[in-house]
């Protein structure tokens, strides 16, 4: 059925409006912090950039998982889903350690508008990544039980659309928060 993919497509479009509003809030306050932490004086673009590469790579591995299903290569399907989960988890680890580092320096959501907008935007994105990881884990479980015969599966394709979306949002978020401050 094309229904499922259409639903996820519109859902992702709706979600992107949600993120556009969070990004607008961030942009609105970008130049209004006069003292205290800002993106420029408290973030590390290189470190986060490296962790971002893991998320980008996970989009690629997810695409490979879909390809494996199309060619009915069930072993590679499981492997590529697992790789996607691991890469996504590494990204989340990177974000968590970044957050803890900031909180250790007393940079929190209530410190100033940079803290407010930064933690809200990256937090909602991280939450979406975690939801994606849960869905991928369910996919992996189903794959291990031999649920996907191929060559097509709405389940795999829908999770894939969502995962690429989460990845795409991060490219925008990274550009707005990190690249804008340092370039």
């Amino acid at each position: 059925m094309a229904n499922n993919k259409m639903l996820v497509g519109f859902f992702v479009a709706s979600e992107s409006i949600f993120f556009v509003m969070l990004i607008l809030a961030y942009v609105n306050f970008h130049n209004s912090v006069t003292d205290g932490p800002t993106a420029f004086n408290s973030l590390d673009p290189v470190r986060t950039g490296i962790f971002s590469l893991f998320l980008l790579a996970s989009s690629f591995s997810m695409w490979l998982a879909g390809r494996s299903l199309a060619t009915k290569n069930h072993l590679m399907l499981k492997i590529w889903i697992l790789v996607t989960i691991v890469l996504g988890a590494i990204f989340i680890y990177g974000q968590a350690s970044e957050w803890f580092g900031l909180i250790d320096q007393n940079i929190t959501i209530s410190r100033n508008v940079f803290g407010t907008t930064f933690f809200t935007l990256t937090g909602f994105h991280g939450f979406h990544v975690i939801v994606g990881l849960i869905m991928l884990s369910i996919l992996l479980g189903l794959a291990l039980f031999g649920d996907f015969k191929g060559p097509k599966s709405d389940g795999v394709e829908c999770v894939s659309i969502y995962w690429h979306f989460v990845d795409g949002v991060w490219i925008v978020v990274y550009s707005v928060i990190y690249l804008w401050a340092f370039l």
Partner: protein, 556 residues
Amino acid sequence: MSSRIPIVPENIKPLPLLKENEGMLSWVASVDHKQIGIMYLLASMVFFVIGGIEALVIRIQLAQPEFGFISPEVYNQMFTMHGTTMIFFVVMPFLIGVGVYLVPLMIGARDMAFPRLNALSFWLVIFGGILLYYSFFTQSGASEVGWFAYAPLSEKPFSLNKGPTYWVLGLLAVGISSVASGLNNIVTILTMRIKGMTIRRLPLFVWMILVTSFLLVFVIPVIASAFSMMLLDRLLGATFFTPAHGGSAILWQHFFWGFGHPEVYILILPAFGIISEVIPVFSRKPIFGYEFVAGSTVAIGLLSVGVWAHHMFAVGLGNVANLYFSLASMLIAIPTGVKVLNWVATMWGGKIYFATPMLFAVAFIIEFVMGGLTGVAIASAPIDWVVTDSYFIVAHFHYVLYGGSLFAIFAGVYYWFPKFTGRMMSETLGKWHFWLTIVGFNMTFFIQHFLGVMGMPRRTYTYQDFPYWGSMNLVSTIGALILALSILVFIWNIFVSLRSGKEAGNNPWHAWTLEWATSSPPAVHNFDLVPPVRGRRPLWDLEHPDTPDEPNAKVV
């Protein structure tokens, strides 16, 4: 008789009815779009009574100057909860619910595309309503900050009670529900239509639901985002909307109205859809200018997202912004006027039959145009500066929301009640309901235009004994009591008609859309056989094989 169009064979066995598996569990656990639709309607009726009682409390407090019927705090809670309830828990669930019931029937489908998602949408509304109303039981009661919850009043230092937190949580639940039902509607309408039901043949009600659903999917996330920020401000001490800590109160206004203005079209477009179904049937003519009704709806949907700041003229956004938002807002009058013209032209020369649904539909046109005209007036920034936050505004939006949305809802209930239940509603009680509504509604709200121009601010707890203010407010309060009486008649009518209404049969109004081709109430699987669709009025084509709407339509 021409044999080109096959006739639907009579059913030999009667179709299984919903009645046969009655019982609470069959409702609570249901994923059937008809049962969910009925539950939506019942829920919105319950909330309508609650919101109505809140309105009566407001009106009694204002019945005479310097009155102390309730405390100022309770008064603030009343108008906040009244507005929130009527918008999010009455008009939206009703219109979504009637859509959920009718859309699959009108397009000849068995159910919605995602029945379980449909059930989730409904139960989230109930969940949100419980969250919202639970706030009355917390210390210092419900939210007191008005339905648009302007910052910084809604923020921590100024509202330390839990009211606004519950308010925002409840509305987040409803927001998720609305997006889910919008998604469900879009996929259903785009993919589940029966053969022959092209986009250009969709009943106009389905068209309106489609455009509304797009608005839901793309506009609700705006407020979901802002609500999340408000929640973080209140719970974790974030500073989005607190100017004292570097935030921006104006940002909340932009975000809120960025959602809030499209929201009013979410509340009115399905109502337009109901009117576009009722008027042709009771005028015995096809709708005049089908393409224009559908096209102007799309135009309204697109324009609605670009006019939000006309709610913010008093902020002082500068002349350029004021000019743009004034002109853009006035532009919406054009597609809306096109619709009014279409409805009037449909009635023109028709054999009009003034049953209760038609009475409400005709009254809808008149009352809605009243609200529309004041709307065009206050779209102009200088006029808005004079009357903003006064009772003139209150009168304006009650004319479009009560005189518009609710009149259409009443028309819809009287029109589809036979389909929902198999019984006709009482015409006698219906006419009592109608005339009491007309008298009560206009008595309550027309006079508020003058109160507003005389300077009475909205949301004021009480007022001094200025000349005529007391008597004019008393007139408004008496009108509200008449309106309450009309609602009692309406509810009584539903009860009486459910028990002993006339048997309706499949198609009591001789209507033409597909929902009338099945039994009343429809079988669990909706249709045994769907009539062939070769035009916009499938049942007309079926009954008049020699003069179909589209004589050259291909036989599928």
